[in-house]
């Protein structure tokens, strides 16, 4: 995402957890009831303002591949057009590299109610780090086929995901882990600066990520991945 949405820390997953809806999504001025959003507002978009406050329920994307039309207030005739327009028009991002857009469309198109679990999988540090390692592998593959734009996009994504993990270890006890996540992020950034050494550097970064994942898992009770710790944290924030 770009524009105000990206600067506010929003991503596709803010509305579509694991490709589904998010019944808890609520942003004053954008949402009506929780789980709804006005997709035609200039809060995020330069081109979609329709001068109406018309939030609609956030849909699940499961089964989207079977549909013949897409979107309610800003419709499109193909999944490709719909997602491309959402990224560029609704959220003011630069058009993503072609392989990235194709990947998103393939992912959404493959979400199948019969194959998917009934609800979103639990967030864990293992799962999060596993996603990062997979993104790094995809970056490696992109470097191998000289698709630098896609590789760099995936590296940036990996770093952003590391940041989301670091946020879940907010306490003093997590300081060392946050610091090591930051070091890993810098190492990933360094890959981008020397694409000719990408393969070797990415191998090293992946090894570090796997080692760090074990420590993050071990410390999960002090993190906001732990439902009880998360509830306490949110309660404290409400009091503040």
């Amino acid at each position: 995402m770009g524009g105000q949405a990206a600067r506010s820390g929003l991503s596709c997953a803010a509305c579509h957890i694991d490709g589904r809806a998010n019944p808890n999504f609520y942003l004053d001025g954008l949402s009506g009831a929780p789980g709804t959003a006005d997709v035609t507002t200039s809060i995020f978009s330069e081109v979609r303002e329709d001068k109406k406050f018309n939030p609609i329920p956030i849909p699940t994307l499961v089964g989207a591949g079977e549909k013949s039309s897409f979107g309610a207030n800003a419709s499109a005739s193909s999944l490709h057009d719909f997602i491309g327009a959402a990224i560029v028009e609704e959220f003011q991002a630069e058009p993503p590299p072609a392989a990235v857009l194709d990947g998103i469309i393939a992912y959404v198109g493959a979400l199948d109610a019969a194959a998917c679990p009934s609800g979103p999988a639990a967030q864990t540090p293992r799962r999060a780090m596993n996603d990062i390692v997979r993104a790094l592998e995809a970056a490696e593959a992109a470097y191998a086929r000289d698709d630098l734009a896609t590789a760099e996009f995936l590296l940036a994504t990996s770093r952003n995901m590391l940041g989301l993990i670091a946020e879940r270890y907010p306490y003093e006890k997590g300081a060392r882990l946050r610091s090591d996540l930051a070091v890993l992020s810098r190492d990933i950034s360094a890959v981008r600066k020397k694409p000719e050494e990408a393969e070797a550097r990415l191998e090293s970064v992946k090894r570090d990520a796997i080692r760090l994942e074990k420590r993050l898992h071990k410390a999960r009770r002090i993190s906001l991945y732990d439902p009880r710790a998360l509830a306490e944290f949110l309660e404290r924030r409400k009091e503040d």
Partner: protein, 322 residues
Amino acid sequence: MKKFAMLALSFAAVVMAAPAFAAGSGGASGLPSSSRPKVDPAKAFGEGVDALQAEDYKKAEKKFRDVLSVAPKHPEANYYMALAKIRNGKPKNAIRYLETAIEERPDFVEAREKLALVQIELGAPDAARDQLVAIGAKKEECAAAGDCDEAYVARVDAAIARVTAALEAPAGEAPKSEESDAEKEPSDQAFLLFAPRDEGVELYMAAVRLINEHRFEEAIEDLYKSQAIIGPHPDILNYLGYSHRKLGKVEKAQEYYHAALDIDPDHKGANEYLGELYLQIGEMEKAKQRLAALDRICVFGCSEREDLARLIARREGAVASN
């Protein structure tokens, strides 16, 4: 308009899908910043306004001193500091704050009125008459431009009436500067002084929408109103910089970006947009310094850094191909 009820100006604070703590306007990393000043000027501003309303003028002075230590030119903070000084029986000390407020915002009618009343009280009616003339000129200016806001005209007329009455009053009977305070009659002012903080956030959000619709002059109006309520806030100052830059007012834009960075040197948006401004005026090295700052701030990367890097690369590419 739908009411916004945000805890902070950052959207992230209210997005339930992102349960981890809000990044705020500084580092998305969530890591503490060592370079940020100890004073939170918007918080101190709110506390100062509360103290004024509670008639605790000493506390109000202290709070606005804190605000002005990081945002010395903020018009409303200077105005409120002057009110606190006047209420503390130090009208002479109020003058420089009122002058700063007026210098920053020449159409700040309440500040001009207050300055005139202080000057009358201190036995300088000629200086007060100068302010009266200036207030009248502001009214004529907006009439000539054809963009007079009804509420603004009402504020101007009320100010003129009060200053005129004070000037015409027999010696020794002129109302003292604190006796006709605008803030005592906020409903008559249609002005933002002492308005609830939520209204400031709502105005800020309205300004963001206007910016996205490229209606920069209207956005600036809302941002001014927003900062009159909220106090100096880097998000507001950053968008004031952005809107002025888009209107071609580069110097003013630069001032606002620096004011935002004075409050929060790690403000990602202000670093990015100041970098863009440097690119716009051909200062490539300075643009790269902002990029280096973003590299340091954004431990886990950020879109502000990516966007500025892209613009620098494009500019360098364009220069190389020439």
